[in-house]
Amino acid sequence: MRHLYLAYAGRRTGQAIVVVLLTYVVTFLAISVLPGDPVTSTLRNPENGFSEEEIARIVSYYGLDQPVAVQLWQALSRFLVGDLGVSMRTNLPVAQLVGAVVGSTLVLAASALAVALVLAGAIAYGAHRFPWAPGRSLLRSLPSFFLSVPTFVIGLVLIYVFAFDLGLFRVIEPDSAWATFFAALTLGVPVSAQLAEVLIAGLDHEAQQEYTSVARSRGLGEARLYLRHLLKPSSLPVVTVLALTVGELLGGAVITETIFGRTGIGSLVQRSVSTQDLPVLQAVVALAAVVFVVVNLAADLLYPLLDPRVRRVGSARSGAGVGAVGAGSAGVGSVGAGTPDGELESADVLAAFVADEQLAAVGDSAIEVPLEERVRVS
């Protein structure tokens, strides 16, 4: 078993590295092949005030006078040793620009994640345990509503209400505690919706299991039942969704940081877009891909350790790419939280898409072997 897990871990790590390198190549090609020559137009733009020598230096650094294949090879070999290139706008190393702002974005993203987890937990628990039925169904439809509101509207409304009307924070101090909290709320609300949907679906499933009735009949209190018994199996799929939403936090940071006036990766992206500073964009995309791939790899590798049902067959999981990508032959069935014939129909109001495939993807590892055997037998 142990060596099977190690082989699985090795294969997944290899795939992850390939994906990161390919991502860099794809972004590079997208930027260089797409029509328009933003590089030259930026360099020659009189507003940027580059002298002829500086232009010549940048052109030779990026090999802009060389064929695309050569440029790609140079860029890739620099990327491999951790050199992210030089900003065309400021002439500073990209790594330095990113390093200066990454801390602020990490704080924002971590707070957003915390807000999202608390919010999702509260919504899911409320959707099950709220004492008033209309309140429960309202809570059930809340994630769907959250997913329909643009991030910028959430941010603007929060600023209008809490900064302008209630005076809780001042927009000119974007790094104050309250301002950070509301920025995190803006970023966290859409994420919380996705987590809540999976969590509600999971709780629905677990609440129907026989062990729940047994626990109830033996006099276990409701709060204890949910926290001690139902929460753990229901939150396993949340790990997968959590990993998949990491990239979204970076994308959402572009809007959130712009609205709240924070300095961070998002506002760096926004500034680089308006100045057509492509090396910075390329570096941020590459970093985002690295973060996404690493987090999903960690989630995939942790999963067999967290869920004993998956552990038994986890090593047999094959062809699963990043996160839920490879819903391959394994993903044939619809699977509840890891149980082959689990049905999520009970999550009627919110049998939401987001939740669903995550569960299927999570479950696929658990049923892969039986399913393949069945195919072979038939």
């Binding site: 795939q15 390939v18 994906v19 390919l22 991502t23 794809v26 972004t27 997208a30 930027i31 797409l34 328009g36 329909s148 643009p150 991030t151 910028f152 509207v153 603007l156 409304v157 209008y160 302008f164 859409p190 996705q194 939403t245 990239g247 979204e248 994308g251 959402g252 809007i255 992206v269 926004q270 877009v273 057509q276 492509l278 964009l281 985002a288 996404f292 062809g319 790419g321 990043v322 996160g323 839920a324 990508v325 490879g326 819903a327 391959g328 032959s329 993903g331 044939v332 069935g333 619809s334 049998a351 939401a352 898409f353 987001v354 939740a355 669903d356 495939e357 995550q358 569960l359 993807a361």
Partner: protein, 290 residues
Amino acid sequence: MTVVSLRLPRRAAAGDRSPATASLAVARRRPPVDVLVSIGVLAVVLVWSVAPGLVTSQDPADGVPADKLLGPSAAHWFGTDHLGRDVFTRVVYGSSSSVLSALVAVAIGLLVGGLIGLIAGFIGGWVDSTLSRLVDVLLAIPGFLLAVVIVTALGFQTINAAIATGVSAVAVFARLMRAETIRTRQSVFVEAAYLQGGSATHVLTRHVLPNASRSVVALAVLQFGVSILVIASLAFLGYGDPPPASDWGLLVSAGKDYRTAPWLVYTPAVVIIATVLALNRVSRWLRKTD
């Protein structure tokens, strides 16, 4: 942007049922009230986008300076902006580029992603592995970031924002289509079709595509809503057509500078939310009707 994915339908119950029975089930089931309301909302928005002149007689670009920053009233349902332009008229005229460009985005995602998924799932083997890695790559880049990069390279126009949004949706469609194709390809009735001498083309058009269509259509409707949000966000950041265009996201962005006139932000925002909410509801209903 949003992590969107579809559940793979139940194996035995839905998968092995022939498409004909499935469509009977649809006909039997009457849509619930909230779905009807959602369809109504979408119909209104569609009329706005196709024939804005039918709904409002005012000009979206022409204002009456004396009437600037008026609150919502019978004459100006959504109030007026800083140039005295009627906001309702601007929202109505903005819907065509907001909604139709989202349609373009979905079409790109559906066609390109669907084709990738179909080829990967149907042929399998090394083709599948190669295409799956490509999809992994697209998934690894945050959707919104990818859209931003593409729109930067293409130039700031609404149609480019639509293309960028479409490209970032390719992976989701490819993933679903691949899973659906594999599911159908392995089912008993496909085996039977082959045994009776059916060709690959026959299986593809008669079995694989009809069986995949339900989930794929539901995803397309959902992705329509997501695309509206992404395009509105790009317009909000100023990556779409510049003013006097009145994309919904652009209206919110322009309105946020007038603190005393909150309706400039709230009215287009409510229109966006209502449209996306309606699309999500219809999508979920389509998904569940089997």
